[in-house]
Amino acid sequence: MIIRALLLAGLAAIGWLVFLRRNRLPVHIVLMFALLGVGAAAVLAPEQTLDDVAHVFGVGRGTDLITYLFECGALFVGLHYYTKFVELQRQVTDLTRELAILRGELEQAQRREPPAP
């Protein structure tokens, strides 16, 4: 019972954070709340119901089904942020390069025409 209360409180906290930082597209918010809802249902559902759902997917126990889904979710999140990281790194490279070239050109120009005293 305590663990159920803790899990539900955790899901509610995530939902509240998502609501506060709702700067993403509405579809992302809806998807997030749907996932939280599924999570809450999994916490509240009797164990047998979860096992029945797991059997539909060919998995022996409800706990295993949730573990598999969690693994898939974690991999997806990891890949998503890795892609973002590579994209950000490319932007940092472009910015650093442009800054280096602009500073170099500025130094060249100043060498040709020293600033007036």
Binding site: T96, L99, I101
Partner: protein
């Protein structure tokens, strides 16, 4: 030899030197190249030592990355700068003193009838200071690189190379770190550029050996090449 490369003024040929923590040697390296009449741009890749000041002391153009990005990124910065300055051809040259400016004329000369000329340490000129183990490692890396790129080269990763400015966009480096050398070969193969190898002299010193690639770094290069989208 033609023509175009003979007509080029040496000031129109830009030698790009990517440097990271090379304060001890970069001044002499840049001065040697500049003394031969080539235009030189040193890209200090976010060094925390006096690399930039030492290069400036040699009287060459110095660009400075605000953060360390890697050799591939630094070379591309220098190439972009050289192209903006109207370069006719680009030469890449290592900062650690292992290359000789005396090899540049032959590399540039080869651009008369090729788009890119790659330096090779295994075409007869001496390799000073290389141990047997290092030579074996270089041969193994070349064999693997040839399998990956589909090219047939005697030396896959010599940092001394020259290419015509007009093919630079097709050779754009997006691998920021050391995997840029393999990426370059893949791009040469994919774009069907006319490539040749030119024998070059290499002198490994204690300093250049200390800056060389370790086995672990080789693993990182492979990871970057295969898993970092380019």
């Amino acid at each position: 030899m033609d023509s175009a490369s003979d007509r080029w003024d040496r000031r129109d040929i830009w030698v790009v030197i990517a440097a990271f923590h090379e304060a001890a040697v970069i001044g002499a390296v840049a001065a040697e190249v500049a003394a031969a009449g080539w235009s030189v741009v040193v890209v200090d890749d976010g060094s925390r030592d006096a690399t930039a000041a030492a290069a400036r002391g040699a009287g060459v153009t110095v660009l400075r990355h605000a953060v360390n990005l890697g050799q591939g990124a630094a070379l591309q910065t220098g190439i972009d700068y050289a192209l903006r300055r109207g370069a006719r051809a680009i030469v890449t040259f290592d900062a650690d003193g292992q290359h000789s400016a005396a090899d540049i004329p032959e590399l540039v000369g080869a651009l008369a009838d090729h788009d890119i000329a790659l330096g090779s340490r295994f075409l007869g000129k001496p390799i000073e200071g290389a141990t047997r183990a290092r030579k074996a490692l270089l041969h193994a890396a070349t064999a693997m690189s040839n399998r990956m790129s589909g090219l047939r080269l005697t030396d896959a990763h010599c940092g001394l190379r020259a290419f015509r400015a007009e093919v630079a966009p097709r050779l754009r480096i997006t691998q920021d770190r050391m995997a840029h050398a393999s990426q370059l070969l893949a791009k040469i193969r994919a774009s069907g550029l006319r490539v040749t190898e030119v024998p070059v002299t290499v002198r490994y010193t204690e300093h250049s050996r200390a800056k060389g690639q370790s086995g672990l770094q080789a693993v990182r290069i492979l990871f970057d090449y295969f898993f970092r989208p380019s």
